[in-house]
């Protein structure tokens, strides 16, 4: 039976167990696979920084459920609107987190959901606009308890 003398000891132990699970996993998204996942969405078009706001807590205690909000500065008018928002990560087993497609009646280019993070890593959100340009934002997130790879109880 585990005898956590202090909360800190317990967290350190839990953290190293999670790290072990992560290092044992062979298939994992890397910055390179994330880059290729991004290329399948944007093609050869340049991706500029700006317009997009990606809100994720910088320090995450539980990677199983991380609140995320992506919003894009856009008038959402027929001649100038956001077509889709794509979110990627670099260290989960898969580089994709979600693709969100907005219809003409979307009203506001903003979506919120809850995501899983397997490790401390960078997250990128890319928005596709009606004029064919791509805009992005990224955040670095520190994760204490990893998701995806933990063993069932």
């Amino acid at each position: 039976m585990l005898d956590p003398t202090t909360r800190r000891d317990f967290l350190a132990l839990a953290g190293s167990a999670a790290m072990l699970a992560v290092t044992l996993r062979p298939a994992k998204a890397t910055p390179a696979t994330m880059a290729s996942a991004i290329r399948t969405v944007v093609g050869t078009a340049p991706v500029k920084n700006g317009k997009v706001k990606l809100e994720v807590p910088p320090l995450v205690e539980n990677g199983n459920t991380v609140p995320m909000t992506v919003s894009v500065a856009s008038p959402m008018a027929p001649e100038d609107h956001v077509l889709s928002i794509h979110v990627f990560n670099e260290k989960n087993p898969q580089p994709n987190i979600g693709n969100f497609y907005l219809g003409p009646l979307a009203g506001r280019a903003q979506v919120s959901t809850r995501i899983r993070l397997a490790d401390s890593q960078k997250i990128i959100a890319i928005a596709k606009l009606s004029d064919g340009t791509f805009w992005s934002a990224s955040v670095e997130v520190i994760v204490t308890l990893a998701a995806c790879t933990e063993e069932p109880v």
Binding site: Y101, L105, A106, G107, S112, A147, C148
Partner: protein, 106 residues
């Protein structure tokens, strides 16, 4: 048993931007976890979520294992006329659920 939670305002003014919240109860098994004996637990996730208003698509999402259990989405739409929102979730193992909500626009 799958069940949906939907939050749509019952009334809105024409042209108002309204917020829609949806939650579908689902395990979202990633396919990357193992049992104690080392076997991979097969993936079981929702892969697609669609919201239509009076038959027209207003929001759609592709889901990956990185979406948390009980997928929750908040998004927005412009209220143009009274009508019905229809929500559809599709996933692995033949998962398919629908829900709907009505709005009165004045």
């Amino acid at each position: 048993m799958a069940s949906a939670l939907i939050n749509v305002p019952a009334k809105a003014k024409r042209g108002e931007i309204i917020e829609i919240k949806t939650l579908m109860s689902h395990i979202m098994e990633t396919g990357y976890r193992h049992t104690a004996t080392g076997e991979v637990i097969p993936r079981d996730i929702i892969t697609s979520f669609t919201c239509r208003f009076n038959g027209k698509e207003i929001f759609r999402a592709d889901l990956f294992p990185a979406i948390s259990a009980n997928p929750f989405f908040t998004f927005f739409t412009t209220a143009t006329e009274s009508g019905k929102f229809e929500f559809e979730w599709i996933g692995d193992k033949g998962f398919s659920e629908t829900a709907s909500a009505s709005i009165a626009v004045e």
